[in-house]
Symmetry: C2
Subunit: 327 residues, 2 copies
C-alpha cells in the first residue's frame, strides 16, 4: 500500500509518518519544505522524500507522479500565520489544496484523501452545545479556508472523483515548544514548562474550557480515516472529532499531580482575545464521529500518559526509540 | 456614484443596468462577454462597456482601473453548465470571483460588493422549514462554489478589506426562452409558453413547490443590498432572500387565469431528478432578510403583473420602451 503524506515534517505529519516508517507493508512518499528528520531513511527504496513547497506544481508532480492509495494532506499555513498573511493562506490552504485534490484524483484509483481540517471552521461564538448540526461559521482566515476546502471535498465525493474525509482536529498536544505560527501554542507549552518544574502563566482563565487530543490518538484517528468504509461518513465527508473536554484549571492540576510538581506553579493572566477565541469551548457531542469509529483519549490520565511518554522519549535521539505510537 | 456590473449582458445584469442607465447620477461600467444590447450607449461618457472574459486579468484590470463605489458581481457559469464543466465553474465562479474581490478591494474605498449567491447553497435535501439557521449543504457544483465564495466574503468583511453582501437568489422569472445553462429553465418557460396559448408539459408534479421572485423585485433587492447600512447584516454577510412560495399547480392556474387561457393547456410529467432537486422547496422564513429591508413580490398576482408587463414590452424594440423597472 502506498501512502503520501504532505506536511510530513510537521508535528502531526511526522508522528503519522513514523507510524508507518518501519512497516514494510507500506511505501511512503513524504512531502515537506524540510524533511531533515527523515534523511536517515533516504536509502530505503520504499521511502521517497520530496522536499519543496507544495504550491510549486513541480513539487506536486514529483510527489504524485505514480499515484498512491491514500493521501494525507496535512501541509498548511497554521492559524496565526494565516491571520498575519491571508494571501499566503489562500495560496497554500485553499488554492494548492484544491489543485492537489484534482491532481491526486487524476493519478490514483482509490483516491482516499484524508484532509486535516479544524474545529476552527465552527467559529468563535460557539453555540451552547456543539454537535454535528452546528453551523460552519469560521472567525479567522485559517478556519475560513479549511471550511471552503471541506465544501469542495464534499462536492468531489458526490461527483465520485475523490474519496475524501475531512477530519476537524481539536487542539493536539503536546506540540514542540517552538514558534509554530499557531495561536494556541500555549496549550502545548503548559506541558513543557510544567515538566521542567517551572512557573507557567496561563493566558486563559482557570475556568476557561478547551478540547484536547493527544498526538497519538490524533494519529490513530487519521489512520482510521484512511482505511474506514466511506459508507459510514456523512455526505459532507466532514467529521468533527471527539475530544477530551476540560478546564484549564483542571488540566493544570492534573498535570501537576501527574508530574508531582509543587503547588502554585501555575498562575492565570487571561488575555481577553485569546479567552474569547480559545477559552469558551462548550460541551461537544460527536455522534457522527463516534458512529464512524473515531474516539478521543478516554481520560485526561490517558492523555497525560501519552504526552509525557512522548516528551520523555524525545529527551533521547528519536532514531533510538522511534516515534511509534503507544496505542 | 460609480457602479460596476459584471454579467451585465445577462438576464439579471441587464435588468439591473437598465435601472441606472438613464439616470445621470450614476457612472456605469458594464462588463460581459457580449454587451451588444448596450452598444447604443457607447458614446455616453458616463457609460463604459468592457467586453471580455472576467477570468482574463486584463479584462478585470480594464473594468476596475479607476475603482468604483459599488460592484455588483453577477457574472457566473450557471448551474447546469457548472455541473457539466466543474473546472470551468471553479475558474469563473470561485477563482475569478476571489481575484475580483481582492482587486476591487485594492482600488476602491467604499468596497460595497454585492454578490449574486443562490439558494442552491442550501442543498437538495432541505429541512422541513428553511430559515436563517439552516445549514449550508450544496448538492451541486454551482452551489458549492457559491457557498465557498460566501465564506471568503464573510472573512473579508471581518478583516475590513471588503464590504460585501451575499444575496441568495431564488428562481428569478421570467428568463428569456433561450438555452441558458440553467437546470431550472422550465420555471421561466411556463410563462412564455402559456403567453403564446400553447400547451405546456411541466417536468415537475402539480404539487411540487417552488420559490419565485420577479426580475423587477430581484433588481429592487440588489439595489437595496448596494445601498443599505451594513450594520443590518449578519456577520456572515449572507442573506437568504424572501421568495413567493407556491406549487406548480397554483402557478399554472394563476398564469392561465391572468392570461385568460383555455383550461387544460398544462400537463404534468414529473422528472424524478428535477422533482428532487427543484420541486420540494419547504416553507421559507427569512427573518434576517426581512429585518434588513429585503422583500418578495407580495403576491403571485403582483409577480404575474411584473412578468407579463415585461414580456409585453419585449415584443417591441427595447430602445423605445426601455427596461425600466415597474417598481
Amino acid at each position: 500500500m502506498k501512502i503520501i503524506i504532505t506536511g510530513a515534517g510537521g508535528f502531526v505529519g511526522s508522528a503519522l509518518a513514523h507510524r508507518f516508517i518501519n512497516n514494510t507493508d507500506f511505501n511512503l512518499v513524504l512531502v515537506d519544505q524540510s524533511l531533515a528528520d527523515f534523511y536517515k531513511y533516504k536509502d530505503q527504496l520504499r521511502i521517497r522524500l520530496v522536499e519543496g513547497q507544495l504550491q510549486d506544481s513541480e513539487v506536486r508532480a514529483h510527489a504524485l507522479y505514480d499515484g498512491a492509495d491514500i493521501l494525507f494532506h496535512l501541509a498548511a499555513v497554521p492559524g496565526g500565520a494565516a491571520e498575519a498573511n491571508p494571501l499566503q493562506s489562500k495560496i497554500v490552504n485553499l488554492d494548492t489544496t484544491l489543485l492537489l485534490c484534482e491532481e491526486f484524483s487524476a493519478v490514483s484509483r482509490s483516491r482516499r484523501f484524508v484532509f486535516a481540517s479544524t474545529i476552527a471552521v465552527l467559529g468563535a461564538s460557539l453555540p451552547e452545545r456543539v454537535d454535528d448540526t452546528s453551523p460552519i461559521s469560521p472567525a479567522l482566515v485559517y478556519g475560513t479556508h479549511k471550511a471552503m476546502v471541506e465544501l469542495a471535498l464534499a462536492d468531489m465525493a458526490r461527483r465520485g472523483i475523490l474519496d475524501p474525509v475531512s477530519l476537524r482536529l481539536p487542539g493536539i498536544v503536546a506540540r514542540p515548544e517552538v514558534p509554530s505560527g499557531l495561536k494556541t501554542a500555549f496549550i502545548s507549552n503548559i506541558f513543557h514548562v510544567l515538566q521542567r518544574n517551572e512557573p507557567f502563566t496561563c493566558p486563559l482563565s482557570e475556568s476557561a474550557t478547551t478540547w484536547l487530543m493527544s498526538i497519538d490518538r490524533c494519529v490513530d484517528n487519521l489512520v482510521h480515516a484512511a482505511t474506514m468504509d466511506s459508507s459510514l461518513l456523512p455526505s459532507s465527508r466532514a467529521i468533527t472529532l471527539p475530544a477530551l473536554q476540560c478546564s484549564m484549571g483542571d488540566l493544570a492540576k492534573k498535570i501537576s499531580q501527574f508530574l508531582g510538581n509543587p503547588s502554585g506553579l501555575v498562575s492565570y493572566e487571561p488575555d481577553s482575545n485569546l479567552e474569547i477565541m480559545f477559552g469558551r469551548y462548550p460541551p461537544l457531542e460527536t455522534a457522527a464521529a463516534n458512529n464512524a469509529g473515531f474516539s478521543h483519549d478516554g481520560s485526561l490520565e490517558n492523555l497525560l500518559h501519552c504526552v509525557f511518554s512522548r516528551l520523555e522519549e524525545h529527551k533521547f535521539p528519536s532514531y533510538i526509540f522511534g516515534f511509534n505510537s503507544h496505542y
